[in-house]
Assembly symmetry: none
């Protein structure tokens, strides 16, 4: 589908050069369509960008949500969630760069796309919080402030993948994620289990 192709080309360009350093002409060239064609699918550059943002956020949501929504034990879900970020970086380097690089560059219209992205962020964090709460209730986790722990974990992960996306190297990423897992799950939430 044409729309798909345009979005893919846009992602490549936006993620490496930023919204304002990519022109519709650039996108036309990269996607091998005419400029006018872009306007048959998107009413404006900003809308195109917003849709791109939305789509990518959605994709990430669809990768992460099932993990958190599953039936496994709380600690297992969290571990899987953390480790999943390895594949997430792998498959979405461009989007991550984009998302971070434009984070907050809000000209009204970006928001349309960002709204969805923020929604997703909030939803995921909320679920993380619930899982931690649930783990605490079952006495599997230590009694921490669930919201703060969820935010911190999310922030740590985001900060980590952000840095990793600069020069992607799978082994390093897996190691880093393992350390985060160890810190947040084994040390912070379940200290007894590992005798630390």
């Amino acid at each position: 589908m044409h729309k798909e192709a345009i979005l893919e080309a846009s992602l490549r360009l936006f993620s490496s050069k930023g919204f304002h350093n990519v022109s519709m002409q650039d996108i036309a060239a990269e996607s091998e369509f005419a400029v006018g064609t872009l306007y048959n699918f998107f009413p404006s550059k900003e809308q195109l960008f917003a849709e791109l943002l939305s789509d990518c956020a959605e994709k990430i949501y669809e990768m992460l949500w099932p993990i958190l929504a599953g039936d496994e034990r709380e600690d297992v879900k969290l571990r899987t969630f953390i480790r999943a970020h390895s594949r997430l970086v792998e498959e979405n380097v461009d989007f991550i760069k984009l998302y971070v690089s434009e984070q907050g560059n809000l000209t009204a219209a970006h928001n349309i796309g960002n709204v969805r992205a923020d929604e997703i962020k909030t939803t995921l964090r909320g679920k993380l919080e619930d899982i931690i709460k649930s783990g605490i209730e079952k006495k599997n986790f230590r009694s921490v402030d669930a919201r703060t722990a969820a935010h911190s974990l999310a922030a740590a992960l985001q900060s980590f993948i952000l840095e990793s996306s600069e020069d992607f190297e799978k082994r390093k990423i897996d190691e880093g994620l393992a350390k985060i897992e160890h810190l947040f799950i084994d040390t912070l939430l379940m200290p007894e289990k590992q005798g630390q």
Copy 2:
């Protein structure tokens, strides 16, 4: 000094609209100078921006570094560091918005300013890591991966102040920071002390 005034006006505008959505005319109007005057102080829009970034980063560095470099016990330094972010947000809302919103929007020239900002970020993180290590050696902290813990704490703080800067409210911020302090210091690093 005029340069100061220009930088202040720029900060106001850049932080609320982003680099590319602010024109030199805008800055001239906001700072109540003529366009040409701006160019008597800065060779280009990008240099102006870079200098702004540098300056702000420096200011933050000068606020935070002494805390980490002091002679107090490790946990005290970390607690003070965390709590200092309250004043930091208070005094630098605009810069924080700016720094985050442009983070990674690197048109070559931004880098000049960002280089300093990143340097500072790295330096602070490194010091955090050293402090945690030192606390571990003295058996005051649990044996965690110091680097990961430092990064996580930094990320949590950054994520938190970023969100807080949107609608600044001192009480909420202090509460949030207290929770972060509790999570990272009392629960993660010094669990015995509080019998948790």
Copy 3:
């Protein structure tokens, strides 16, 4: 073709006002295109100018070269060459003004166009020299320094058409050229033939 129209409009303006006193807006107005359209055909004002210079030089070359390269006797070729300048002025008043008025106004980029113009100038002068040499060898011309004679003839012609181009008047020009022909050919190079 649009490019043609733009170049024509540019020539009119540049020749009467000089490179720096004509703005792209002026050219847009004169050529009845939008400014942006100019940039669809030329990457910069300087390139436009350079191309204009090149093109005109080329046109003149194509008018004069065949005369010098022909098979006629040396004196005939020179006479035809001199007289051809009448039509040359007629058809290229604007370019002549331009070429002379900008001669040496070299902001790097002009050179691109000027390189071709100078090449042509050099080529024509070289050919003039060869023809004079050849005429001398055949004892049709007096033994003069061929290079100096060629340069002097070229200079005299250029100086003359330059002045003529200010207030074009065909009769005067033909008279002037006849005098130059008489001076250089009949008097300087072939004095015997006319018993002077």
Copy 4:
């Protein structure tokens, strides 16, 4: 005198970069005065330029006129005149470059300076013509069209010094001038004398 110093600095700059590529700030820097000071001596950049042009033309006039106005025999005066161009180039490279490079770049105001320069050009040519006429009347010169001969000689000299001024080399210039002298005086005007 300050005015003198400003004009000297201007000449250096204008001759190497052209009128439009030199700013009043540049002139201020080069002359070591403040911008405002320039305006105490010259009402505008264009007037400054015009005065510069006038002055230089005057200087050249004062060097050449006495030669032509002297009491020597016609051929002697012409020979001296031609040879004098060696010193002329030597002492006025900058002005020659300037004069040629701006020749015709006429924004109304240049004219003020150019008027004097053209006046001088005309006067000198007229005198040349008179001298040739006089030589013809005395049967020392062949009967050529005096005006055309004068113009041609002037054009040849101008074209020659123009080229020489690019990379000044005294020996080459003297050689070139000798050839011009030979061509115009010995060959064109006084052929019998040398049996050519």
